[in-house]
């Protein structure tokens, strides 16, 4: 049994900020991190000898300060450790990937900071090898200091696509095009609102200037309607707002339709022990600046909750980031009304882990009595697979709502439920844990 006053899950900006704040308040903190490094997805560092990622000076400065403060606290980090949840006895369950065993942790408080995941809308072929999330392409680029090779298409929506296009260009392989469902130029008034957020605006222009200077095509008001295997790589079918269709042959495709909290399965056990607080993007996906502020808020909340006082509410810093992200969402709103998922071909895969299609869901939802989200999971295996619904539950719920407008619209959590383990774990690792615990008792 491992003991800690405060257990922090995840060493991204929220987790690190929470750990620093709790440690400075005199609490004994342990951080659990799935990787061998700290920084999370946003601050992934290059392997030794590889060039650092092209990022605005303000972003690099934030990371330097965070890593300096964290190092000054002497906090224990358990690397290669995957958080599985909090069991009925209030123990945090962590899989040690080094030993292959599960380790229970007795903590007075647990701060969960497991970040965001990217949203990816289903399109025919999105499930093929060679298709990644745009964030996935970016993380590998940060780690290796190399741009993805070959002809790369970035598609979906949002400022991340521009950042990754600029970073790829700096590493010598600009994408063939950036396909953007929205068109920020159609919202000059909203764009003007960004003047209230100079850091964000500077960051946007930092990347946009590279895209302009290098002439990377930014195809706005355009979507990738489908992906097929080609003679030599992949072929993407693009639809623009005029209805014009064109096909592009590429080697790899990055998709990104926004981010959402990685809150899947997270549940608080009944009773009062331990105190559990979520922090950063897994609570509300607002990006790195907000995550750091929220990490500090979570640590202060833990301190107050341990004293039987109330949790700290939303801070001004958080509200500011929420407003800024709201502006970006308006700027990048899709120009054409989002096409209905029910318009996808029946063989379009919705749930990749269990290989369940639009047609499979239509058959399930065609029954006389509408099925609940939970029934669609149990009877149809949607959101049942290894990703635990992270990449299909929201899309499945949306299509269910389109198909059964007579029934209450289900949500992603109606399909997934909330229970641990929040990540797949070998049964052998769990069995080893019970052995170890019994020996100690």
């Amino acid at each position: 049994m491992i003991e800690a006053q405060v257990l922090v899950i995840g060493a991204g900006p929220a987790g690190l900020a929470a750990a620093i704040e709790a440690s400075r308040a005199g609490l004994a903190v342990t951080v659990v991190e799935q990787r061998e490094t700290i920084g999370g997805a946003i601050y992934r560092q290059a392997v030794l000898g590889a060039p650092a990622t092209y990022q605005p000076p303000a972003v690099r400065a934030r990371w330097r300060r965070l890593v300096h403060d964290f190092a000054g606290c002497g906090i224990t980090v358990r690397h290669g450790s995957v958080f599985l949840g909090i069991d009925g006895d209030g123990l945090a369950i962590v899989e040690n990937r080094g030993t292959g065993h599960v380790e229970p942790v007795a903590a007075k408080a647990v701060i969960i900071a497991v970040g965001a995941i990217e949203k990816v809308l289903p399109r025919p072929g999105w499930n093929k090898a060679g298709v990644s999330t745009v964030g996935g392409l970016q993380i590998m680029m940060k780690e290796t200091g190399r741009a993805p090779e070959g002809r790369i298409l970035l598609a979906g929506s949002g400022p991340l696509l521009i950042a990754v296009a600029a970073q790829m260009a700096r590493l010598g392989n600009a994408p063939v095009a950036v396909v953007e469902a929205g068109d920020p130029f159609r919202h000059p008034l909203t764009g003007g609102g960004l003047l209230a957020y100079p850091t964000l605006l500077a960051e946007a222009l930092f990347y946009l200037k590279d895209v302009w200077l290098r002439g990377i095509p930014w195809l706005r008001a355009t979507t990738v309607a489908g992906i097929e295997a080609g003679a030599d790589g992949l072929v993407a079918t693009l639809h623009d707002y005029t209805g014009t269709e064109r096909r592009v042959a590429v080697d790899r495709i990055g998709l990104h339709d926004g981010i959402r909290p990685n809150d899947f399965g997270l549940s608080t056990p009944p009773g009062t022990s331990p105190v559990v607080v979520t922090a950063g993007d897994c609570r509300e996906a607002l990006g790195a600046v907000a995550a750091e502020a929220d990490g500090r808020r979570a640590a202060l909340s833990v301190i107050r909750l341990l004293q039987q006082r109330e949790e700290v509410g939303t801070t001004a810093a958080l509200r500011r980031e929420r407003n800024a992200q709201g502006l970006l969402s308006e700027l990048f709103a899709p120009v054409s009304a989002r096409p209905l998922l029910s318009g996808l071909t029946d063989d379009t895969v919705l749930c990749r882990c269990e290989n369940r299609t639009v047609g499979d869901l239509k058959a399930l939802c065609g029954k006389e009595d509408p099925l609940s989200g939970r029934e669609v999971k149990h009877n149809g295996r949607f959101a049942m697979g290894a990703c635990q619904g992270r990449f299909c539950a929201e899309n499945t719920a949306r299509l269910m709502a389109e198909l059964r407008q007579d029934a209450p619209a289900p949500s992603a959590v109606d399909l997934t439920g909330r229970r641990w383990p929040i990540r797949p774990v070998p049964i052998g690792a769990l069995v080893c844990a019970s052995d170890d615990t019994s020996k100690q008792e």
């Binding site: 799935q34 392997v47 030794l48 990937r97 499930n127 990644s132 964030g135 590998m140 882990c353 697979g385």
Partner: protein, 85 residues
């Protein structure tokens, strides 16, 4: 080349110290990581251990290629290859 290699389904894959298995395989031009038990193409997708699309067998244990560091001499294979059981 640094002289560091791991085995991927019988081929030697070079990597740099600190790289993940996913980064090394991608660097070697390998995007299709085999087919899983329901016939879906295994591949590098989210990069953060969330999607489980890049599961491979690392010395027999099923692991996310995007989270697992490459180590010289590792035996890495598609999930559906049973040579290591």
């Amino acid at each position: 080349m640094t002289g560091r290699f791991f085995d991927w389904n019988g081929s030697a894959i070079p990597f740099r110290e600190g790289e993940t298995i996913a980064a090394a395989l991608t660097g070697a031009g390998i995007l299709h990581l085999g087919d899983d038990s329901v016939g879906s193409e295994a591949r590098y997708f989210c990069g953060i251990g969330a999607c489980q699309n890049c599961l491979v067998r690392v010395n027999g244990a099923i692991r996310e290629a995007c989270l697992t560091r490459a180590v010289a001499g590792l035996s890495v294979a598609c999930v559906e290859r049973r040579d290591h059981d």
